[in-house]
């Protein structure tokens, strides 16, 4: 039995199943991070003191550019498939994966530095929300990397059997990846600058 609209779009809705699915998933992610950002606002407006300048703006900024760069390479990985250029697609997808890895390594050094100074989540409310927000974002990065690893490794064979579906998978991974990038674009000013 075949499920329709896995590759091509349903004419009256203009969507394939996967694309609608990933957008719904992102809608729920918006609610998740929306609740956490609201928490940040309520905790900050309700507190008497709020630390400032505790985080390294340079490290945060470097990570911002790394993620923006990875979003670009992700789009290129998808566009290369549309142009039927498998070699370039591999290059760009692996590059995205590597950039995501560099982001996490960078984050690790940042965390380690704070922990060395005794700045644990229990230290104060600012650090608590900082670790929670960036930690959850980091898990999303890790999730994205797992999906990319699958598409680079065991999942790559689908390109031979069903190029349309493989291109869709790269597109949906990209949509997710841009969302994770976008969350960071909000996190960086909120936590590092304001």
């Amino acid at each position: 039995m075949n499920i329709p609209y896995t590759v091509e779009a349903r004419p009256d809705t203009g969507l394939s199943n996967g694309k609608l699915g990933i957008w719904l998933f992102l809608a729920s992610e918006v609610m998740l991070f929306g609740a956490l950002f609201s928490t940040y606002i309520i905790l900050r407006t309700g507190s008497t003191t709020w630390p400032h300048g505790e985080l390294s703006v340079w490290l945060g900024m470097a990570n911002t550019f790394i993620l923006i760069g990875s979003s670009v390479t992700m789009v290129m990985a998808w566009a290369s498939l549309k142009l039927n250029d498998w070699g370039k697609h591999r290059l760009y997808l692996i590059l995205t994966f590597v950039l995501a890895g560099i982001f996490l390594v960078n984050k690790y050094f940042e965390y380690a530095d704070h922990f060395a100074r005794g700045e644990t989540p229990a230290h104060n409310t600012f650090l608590a929300i900082y670790y929670t927000l960036t930690g959850l974002h980091g898990l999303h990065i890790l999730g994205g990397m797992i999906v990319m690893a699958y598409l680079i490794g065991p999942g790559a064979g689908l390109w031979k059997r069903n190029p349309g579906q493989f291109t869709n998978r790269i597109e949906f991974t990209g949509l997710y990846w841009h969302f994770v990038d976008l969350v960071w674009i909000f996190l960086f000013p909120v936590l590092y600058l304001l």
Binding site: L20, S28, M31, L43, P121, T125, T132
Partner: protein, 459 residues
């Protein structure tokens, strides 16, 4: 379903969440004991809560995957000819319910993560400064906000109430249309009402928090939205009642449950109005009145709708009908007992009897005349339990020995009755095509009193 593997993941994630919660009874410290609302600071201090939070994260994941699957399937995989306004009302109800789960659960997941951080990493998201436990000041950084948990919690937990009741409304609508042999009264109005109901359910949550001192402006806003949300509920109920008008009703077992749903849900809904207004809520808050109100919605409301659905779709799932006499004993016993269980709670609550008292509130003089009802309630509750025995027996006995039926035993019109009973892999033998609306009963000039969606005009 559009995503079969996701469907399985959703199920197994639900399974793991359930196992984690059950296992929590057997770990040191025991299961969660902060009530279903898990209000901090108690929930952060009390043992056993961590397993509950971990279990919740699995359950939320399951609900997220399931709701995505339901929505995508409804949007993308409708059969040929099945336009939006030809969808059975039950499908609409499930569709709206899926959106509620999709968008309302993530804030609770966020709250769960924050509470987990409070418990494991020692943060103070929900912990105010200056807490003293057993005479010892708590060693935490403080400055947290316990009300924040309540907002995040009720942002899910109010839509969750509609998650419980909307499918019930959908089931009852199907059964009423089938047993009145008439189209549902005001199908489009029902659809618009349920969509509006789903939307409004996101902006009423703080009516659970009138007593927290959140301010009169907030209370005024949330009591207004609460009054607005009662309008579509009343429209749905009225439309279902009007559907009965002038019908020659088949009093089958599922129909009895569906008919009982209408007044029971009405009692549950109407007793909610005083709770939705801040001034009477000051008196009624946290009394047995709240328990009575809520249980009229979900016990004789949702549970009766589920029983109705079970008796109605049992022949489709198993190919056999459940015994009618046992079904009727089950219905009348449950119907009488459930009212004796919950009706006295209104009297107790109006008299000011609080819930969640370790001794039931015996130490208060004003409860002296009210606690005697506890005996009546307990006896009715045991009787209610006994009346479920015929149902349990009937259920398992009928799987093997019920009267065998063909594919459409109720002379119904909707698409599921085109599939064999029980349906095989892929449900339908041939791809079904939909020719008309879902409730074309007693069409003038038609040869029989039902014109199924899946049967074209005969030449």
């Amino acid at each position: 379903m559009a995503f079969p593997k996701l469907n399985a993941t959703s199920y197994w994630s639900y399974f793991v969440g359930g196992v984690v919660m059950l296992v929590s009874f057997f770990v040191p410290g025991g299961a969660a004991n902060s009530g279903w609302t898990s209000y901090p600071p108690l929930a952060v201090i009390a043992p056993g809560q961590t397993m509950w939070l971990v279990g919740m994260i699995f359950l939320i994941t399951s609900s997220l995957l399931g709701s995505i699957n339901f929505i995508v399937t409804t949007v993308q995989l409708r059969a040929k000819g099945l336009t939006w306004m030809r969808l059975p009302f039950f499908v609409w109800a499930q569709f709206v319910t899926s959106f509620l789960l999709l968008l309302a659960f993530p804030p609770l997941e966020a709250a769960g993560v924050l509470q987990l951080m409070d418990r494991i990493a020692g943060t103070s998201f929900f912990m105010p400064s200056g807490l003293v436990v057993s005479g010892q000041p708590l060693q935490i950084s403080g400055q947290g906000n316990p009300l924040l948990w309540q907002h995040l919690f009720w942002f899910l937990a109010h839509p969750e109430v509609y998650v419980l009741i909307l499918p019930g409304m959908g089931i009852v609508s199907e059964i009423i249309a089938n047993n009145t042999r008439k189209p549902l009264w005001g199908y489009r109005t029902l659809v618009y009402s349920i969509v509006f109901l789903g939307f409004m359910s996101f902006i009423v949550w703080a009516h659970h928090m009138f007593m927290t001192g959140m301010g009169t402006t907030m209370s005024a806003f949330f009591q207004t939205t609460t009054m607005i949300i009662s309008i579509p509920s009343v429209i749905i109920l009225t439309a279902l009642l009007l559907s009965l008008w002038g019908a020659s009703i088949r009093f089958s077992t599922p129909m009895l449950f569906a008919l009982a749903f209408l007044p029971m849900f009405a009692i549950g809904g109407l007793t909610g109005l005083p709770l939705g207004l801040a001034p009477p809520d000051i008196h009624l808050h946290d009394t047995y009145y709240v328990i009575g109100h809520f249980h009229y919605v979900v016990a004789p409301g949702t549970i009766f709708a589920l029983f109705a659905g079970l008796y109605y779709w049992f022949p489709k799932a198993t190919g056999r009908r459940m015994n009618d006499l046992l079904g009727k004993i089950h219905f009348w016993g449950s119907f009488v007992c459930i009212n004796i269980v919950f009706m006295p709670m209104f009297i107790q609550g109006l008299g000011g009897m609080n819930r969640r008292m370790y001794d039931g509130g015996m130490q208060f003089a004003h409860n002296a005349q009210l606690t005697k009802w506890n005996v009546v309630i307990s006896m009715a509750a045991w009787a209610l339990g006994l009346f479920q025995i015929p149902f349990i027996f009937n259920f398992f006995w009928s799987i093997k020995r019920g009267t065998a039926v063909d594919r459409n035993p109720w002379d119904a019109t909707t698409l599921e009755w085109a599939a064999p009973s029980p349906p095989g892999h892929g449900n339908f033998l041939t791809e079904p095509v939909v020719y008309r609306g879902p409730y074309e009963y007693s069409v003038p000039g038609a040869a029989k009193d039902f014109s199924p969606q899946f049967e074209g005009e005969r030449a």
